[in-house]
Amino acid sequence: MEKETLIGEIRKRFAAEIESDAESLGDQVLIVRREGLRAVMAGLQAAPFDYAVLLDLTCVDFLASENRFEMVYHIFSLSRNRRLRIKVSLPDDNPVVDSIAGLWKNANWLEREVFDMFGVAFMGHPDLRRILMYEGFEGHPLRKSYPWRKEQPRIPLKD
């Protein structure tokens, strides 16, 4: 399918869940509603769209805006050789989104990393706990509200 018609097909199929689509410097972007994320992802992974690979999953903290966290997913279709970026906005008071660990196996660790760094919770994740930081670390380092140089030593350090 051509790029434009592919996006057209996707929008037609998931009209309720997709808020808008855009193109940013040659990358195709879809803005999806939080409630519809799992349905959209499952639909895109299956035929006929065949986005078989979850390339990346991350989060951006827009401290100043009302929807503070924005989840960004990059999925890739090997058969079409095409990438797609999907964005979901989450509010500050309830940063929870559906987990896609059941669809792609690497989402397990990627979501753990986002939970560790940003504090976003994933519903349905089999094992949500910290992955890069250690037990006893308070806070979520990549949030804009966490000071960059605040160290939390695990053992008493000499000066």
Partner: protein, 441 residues
């Protein structure tokens, strides 16, 4: 803190801890194994021991200033990380890079890739007992690093590939040193093929071990040599060509079974293909006038005399890195936009040069890309190395995220070692090429 495996383990099994201080090479990685005799029933991996806060640091540094941090991600192939970051920025800024700089970038990239695969296989072989292979491959790596050092000044983490081009042109004797590196590396590869390809011990330890199916590999988001060892053809250099890869002739080796031995074979073949690319790029880059000119003396001899610094001698070398003089600048750095440092001759002698130098480095000025976000990926030593940068119009990135290929590779290890023996963990883990800097960022 009780790890998950401690809670889940049966009371009659043994829990063994491997790491985080591994016998050198792999850095910091912890695997907790639940064993029944030698058989692994379950395992749990703990990472994060080399988490150095790369992404948070990048939010507090300017776009130019954070370049050395990218070197230290996949530290066995630093130039490829540089290239990924720089090309992402160039996509965001919309600048074009001169042809010669692009060719030099590809040359450095491929030298890095060979060095990455050499290190990975050397470590893997050493841990399986083939110490000679480790020594031979390290020797080959030295020749490659000689080329990189002569051009950029540093053997490893170079910060050589800059936004808009490269830091300096190749030095005058680069063709000989590249030729030497190719000859030595090919000799070493031939020796290693002879030592390992049909070696019964190596085959017993790697063939049929750590096997993964195509569907699982895709589900785990594997890319790079590990994915190609299962038989799936996906190479960013072929699928989304960047730099001058679309003009170069090279094959992408594929494996069959997706086991450790196939990963070894794919990496060995990829090294040969990278050497082929290096030869083609070396033929593409035209010769230029020598950087050091002295009457009646050969450039190499002039450089040697200039370094000796005898009193009263008439040869004075430029204090800049060889190949970064002003007359080379338009070949190696873009003039499209002020995204790179002006030449030193201008900075020290003209007012405009001084001002543009200051504006480049001053807080709040410098490289200020338009607002927006961008994702770009290159083929790293482990697979698709992607950068996702969100810019808010200021001189610092709002968010910089690295798509680390070995994060996805390593997340599959728990599945790969289940049901196998303890001794199988070593070649499986070794063939993944886990690099702590990239994994933990």
């Amino acid at each position: 803190m009780d790890a998950r495996i401690q809670k889940e383990a049966r009371p009659d099994t043994m829990l063994i801890n491997m790491g985080p201080s591994h016998p050198a090479m792999h850095g910091t990685f912890r695997i907790m194994l639940e064993l029944e005799g030698e058989k692994i029933l379950n395992s749990e991996i703990e990472i994060g021991y080399l988490h150095r806060g790369f992404e948070k640091t990048c939010e507090n540094k300017t776009y130019f200033n954070l370049l050395p941090y990218t070197d230290r991600l996949n530290y066995v192939s630093p130039q490829i990380n540089n290239l990924g970051y720089v090309m992402t920025m160039e996509k965001l800024l919309g600048v074009r890079v001169p042809e010669r700089a692009t060719a030099i970038r590809v040359l450095m990239s491929e030298l890095s890739r060979v060095s990455d695969h050499l290190t990975c296989l050397a470590a893997m072989a050493m841990e399986n007992g083939a110490f000679t292979v480790f020594l031979y491959m390290m020797k080959a790596r030295e020749f490659l690093w000689d080329v990189i050092e002569a051009t950029s000044g540093s053997r490893m983490t170079t910060a050589y590939i800059r936004i808009g081009g490269v830091r300096a042109d190749l030095n005058d004797e680069w063709r000989e040193s590249v030729k030497t590196a190719l000859v030595e590396t090919r000799r070493v590869l031939k020796d290693v093929h002879g030592l390992l390809d049909k070696n019964q011990i190596f085959l017993n330890r790697t063939r049929g071990i750590g096997t993964i199916s195509k569907e699982d590999a895709l589900s785990y988001g594997w890319t790079g040599p590990c994915l190609r060892s299962t038989g799936i053809l996906y190479d960013v250099r072929k699928a989304h060509p960047y730099a001058i890869y679309d003009r170069l002739a090279f094959d992408v080796p594929l494996g069959e079974h997706g086991d450790n031995f196939d990963r070894y074979v794919v990496r060995m073949s990829e090294m040969e293909q990278s050497l082929r690319i290096i030869e083609q790029v070396a033929a593409l880059i035209p010769d230029t006038a020598p950087a050091v000119k002295a009457d009646g003396i050969e450039p190499a001899e002039a450089v040697r005399q200039g370094r000796l610094r005898k009193p009263g001698q008439r040869i004075r070398l430029s204090p800049n890195l060889e190949g970064s003089e002003k007359d080379r600048y338009q070949d190696i750095l873009t003039r499209d936009a002020p995204v790179c440092v002006p030449p030193k001759e201008d900075t020290y002698t003209t007012m405009e040069g001084l001002i543009s130098h200051f504006l480049f480095f001053m807080k709040g000025y410098g490289i200020r890309p338009p607002k927006g976000d961008v994702y770009f990926s290159v083929e790293g030593g482990n697979g698709e190395l992607g950068y996702y940068i969100v810019s808010d119009g200021t001189d610092r990135p709002y968010r910089l995220h690295l798509r680390a290929p070995c994060f996805h590779l390593v997340s599959a290890i728990e599945q790969l070692i289940r049901g196998r023996f303890v001794a199988d963990v070593i070649p499986t883990f070794g063939s993944m090429n886990m690099i702590g800097g990239e994994l933990d960022r």
